[in-house]
């Protein structure tokens, strides 16, 4: 069991518990992260769904934003869902005043692009790198990716819009695999963390 990577979930706000459960099911040691010293101890990090404006403000306020940027820049594997996707974008099309991101993926995201809650939906999504049946995509006031740079790989689209992207060790989805009980996307991320540890050691 010493082989299991330690993966944190940024626990400032959002559906932290569901990600912890999904990561544990994907054979990682999962723990919440709210402080810089907790961030320093993990091999990878998930930024959950939630309110991106709230998460961004709290991250700056409690001194997590800068160390997080540094670690992502240094290649720590990171996975963001929904609000987490927004946090990993190098650019937000329509940011609220002062809304900062961690960055890490050369993409422009549009917040709440699929609409308000009445337009929130479920749909099957084919994700590159996930074998077998399509992933059940749960989209909640979800963002989409307007455009990606040369370094970013598009993993999935829905209705002509980009909804999953990977660039190096950074992964992002508009939708919420943590709400479905299907842990294949989390397994993909745990594999990324394993691979990164292998190259570092």
């Amino acid at each position: 069991m010493t082989d299991a990577p330690v993966i944190g979930v940024l626990a400032l706000q959002g559906d932290v518990r569901e990600h912890l459960i999904a990561l544990a099911a994907a054979d990682a040691v999962a723990r919440p992260v709210r402080r810089p010293e907790e961030l320093a101890e993990v091999d990878g990090l998930v930024i959950p769904g939630g309110e991106s404006t709230t998460i961004s403000k709290l991250a700056v306020l409690f001194g997590v934003m800068e160390p997080l940027r540094a670690r992502v820049h240094a290649g720590m594997p990171v996975y963001g869902t929904c609000a987490g996707m927004i946090m990993l974008a190098d650019k937000i099309l329509d940011p609220r005043s002062g809304q900062e991101t961690v960055g890490g993926i050369d993409m422009i995201v549009r917040r709440n692009a699929f609409g308000r809650q009445n337009e929130s939906f479920e749909a099957a999504v084919d994700v590159r790198g996930i074998d077998g049946h399509p992933v059940e995509g749960v989209f909640i006031r979800a963002p989409w990716v307007e455009s990606v740079g040369a370094g970013a790989e598009v993993l999935a689209e829905h209705g002509g819009h980009i909804v999953a992207v990977r660039q190096g060790n950074a992964l992002a989805t508009s939708f919420h695999p943590e709400l479905t009980g299907d842990h294949r996307v989390h397994s993909l991320f745990v594999d990324m963390v394993h691979a990164n540890r292998a190259t570092e050691s």
Binding site: A123, I140, H158
Partner: protein, 301 residues
């Protein structure tokens, strides 16, 4: 490859309704009465705002019948912020709920703070695409609301008092009843369902999960950062703050302080820092001097 059929998006499912509440966890939902207040709330880090004409403290003071807010006022708030906007309908007033859905609010609160429109029935919440949050004082009430389609529960407390005592009572009641169910065997769950006046399937699900099948927030009397942290330590997954913010001396500062204390609810040093120099808290009402007829928590069945 997936089939065409699978790719047809489906809206209003239980998963997207309940999942929306999951995204609000660890956060603070603030009552606001103007677009300016909504912006202050958003800037302070609120995860959502509740748009209403009068905060509960003023509803108490003014008396009379309290109804759904003016659509213009709700739309003004929707325009002003990018975070989710909730709004209240009267209990059982499903037409107010239909109106709120048509306005595009993100969550409907079928709320005891407004004057009930039906003294027997709550609205059929499965009939809506927009998800509902409902108040509860105990587990049976929570499960009846979930059976009617509520996708989120908040313990009721006593809104507009600035007194956390009822919020504590109701949250403890719900948590204690859940803990008791955990110890029951299958034979006992049928009788428990009868006692709780709730569907057996939901009672069984709660006994297995050890929690409600939907997100549980706390409401009704939270006025300080320590109040918010108390409710979190008692097991609330987030808090609603009504009159406590905009009836205080420095709303922007108090709002930001309550957000901080809600995230770091288990860190007394951070709660202490958040509690410094907040100015006047709302005055507050002692709940034991409140007549039964003025207790909003008694509304709903």
């Amino acid at each position: 490859m997936s089939t065409i059929e699978n790719q047809t998006p489906e809206t209003g499912t239980a998963r997207v309704k309940r999942g929306m509440a999951e995204q609000l966890k660890g956060g603070v939902i603030m009552d606001v009465v103007t677009p300016e207040q909504a912006k202050i709330a958003e800037d302070a880090g609120a995860v959502a705002v509740m748009a209403l004409e009068r905060v509960p403290a003023d509803i108490r003071k003014d008396g009379g019948v309290a109804r759904m807010s003016d659509p213009d006022m709700i739309e003004g708030i929707i325009e002003a912020v990018s975070i989710p906007v909730m709004a209240k309908s009267r209990i059982g007033h499903f037409v107010e709920a239909q109106v709120l859905q048509s306005l595009g609010v993100d969550y409907i609160d079928e709320s005891e703070v407004l004057t009930p429109a039906d003294e027997v029935n709550h609205s059929d919440k499965w009939a809506f695409t927009t998800p509902f949050v409902c108040g509860a004082t105990n587990l049976g009430e929570a499960l009846r609301r979930i059976a009617e389609g509520a996708a989120m529960i908040r313990s009721k407390g006593e809104a507009g008092t600035g007194n956390v005592v009822e919020a504590v009572r109701h949250l403890r009641q719900i948590k204690n009843e859940i803990a008791r169910l955990r110890g029951y065997d299958n034979n006992e769950l049928y009788a428990a369902a009868k006692e709780l006046r709730a569907p057996y399937e939901l009672v069984k699900e709660v006994a297995e999960l050890g929690k409600l099948p939907v997100v549980l927030f706390s409401a009704g009397g939270v006025a300080t950062p320590a109040d918010a942290a108390l409710m979190r330590q008692l097991g609330a997954e987030g808090v609603f703050v009504g009159s406590g913010i905009f009836k205080s001396g420095d709303p922007a500062k108090r709002a930001a302080a309550i957000v901080k204390a809600t995230t770091f609810y288990d860190d007394p040093k951070i709660i202490a820092d958040a509690s410094r120099n907040l100015g006047e808290a709302m005055v507050g009402i002692n709940c034991d001097t409140l007549p039964e007829t003025e207790r909003y928590a008694n509304r709903g069945w």
